[in-house]
Symmetry: C2
Subunit: 199 residues, 2 copies
């Protein structure tokens, strides 16, 4: 069993290094009971995007039951890529066999936010969007960059394929696993932190 | 597969109906990307308590890997009880067979916080604490009340048995299941919201 979740902490890696994206903690009681409050952007660390994140009136957390968050998974090692994942990098995968495809890239080896992170191109997303996958994941805090209109998000989310971002895949080898990526159960939201494991 | 997690929302049931325990949401971006921040007490809804919650310098979230959050589980139906779970109510269970024991009580049928919720007595906790369980769960927002010094918490947590509170067991029958109760991965904290399922 492998935990593929980033640790949430005040000085963690966040998207574009924005201070507003960092979590804040407040101890509200110390004794006899210790209790903490947290202020958290729902896209912090390892998280899932629901369609509402990018699509007006798109589906939200209420529209997905737990069956959407577990299944057979293939982890693809594309750590040799420097810029982006293209269609040719995934044509050898039999998508019908899996519920989830996770991409292990160079991003997994970076402890700081790299604005030039390896991403999933529109053409690769189009191929994935034609499948019956439940979800696609990557080890960057975003699944795309430098694509006007966010077509990778649009293609996946409009085809009911959830997007898992911020996975920690550095200790994972290419292969077949069971994926369990459970979000918190917050009502009607566009995203959630996730605890994700492979076994 | 059964989702046994409470939904987190602004008007949800919280411990002792304290306003400070209710989550608050703030939409920080609407277009082109929709993003929400949440302010959340770590004991909101379905959650796990680590020893630090009740024990000074006790273990925290960093000290438990994912193996502690999954395993074989027995759900005990004690919906016939009106006040508390006693030792005699659990002596027939072979504790060595399970990783988790979850108690389904009258609490599962109450949509509002009941200050007289059914709880796990000190004597029952003492028996459970002598086992090798990974966790004990209940369908109340607390696992005990009216016991000076919180002995149920102390007994379980000091024996490395995690406490799951706020489970939603109303649709679950007594029996054997696989329990998966994954907390968020927040660094060094005393508790966390959990997404919990049975299968």
């Amino acid at each position: 069993m492998i935990d593929i979740t980033m640790k949430i902490k005040e000085d963690m890696k966040v998207y574009k290094n924005k201070a507003s994206k960092k979590p804040a903690f407040k101890v509200v009681s110390e004794s006899p009971v210790y209790e903490t409050d947290v202020v958290l952007n729902l896209h912090t660390g390892t998280h899932v995007d629901f369609p509402k994140h990018m699509i007006k009136d798109g589906k939200n957390s209420n529209d997905y039951d737990i069956n959407h968050f577990l299944g057979k998974c293939y982890v693809v090692d594309v750590t040799f890529l420097n810029r982006r994942i293209l269609k040719k990098d995934i044509t050898s995968i039999n998508l019908d066999t899996y519920d989830f495809i996770l991409f292990k890239t160079k991003n997994s080896f970076s402890d700081t936010f790299n604005p030039e992170f390896v991403y999933l191109s529109e053409e690769a997303a189009a191929l994935l969007a034609s499948s019956n996958l439940k979800g696609v994941g990557i080890d960057a805090l975003g699944i795309e960059r430098e694509q006007e209109g966010h077509p990778t998000h649009q293609l996946l989310l409009s085809n009911d394929i959830l997007i898992y971002e911020g996975l920690d895949l550095k200790d994972v080898e290419e292969g077949v696993y069971e994926f369990i990526g459970l979000p918190t159960k917050i009502e009607g939201v566009e995203a959630s932190p996730v605890r994700a494991i492979l076994r």
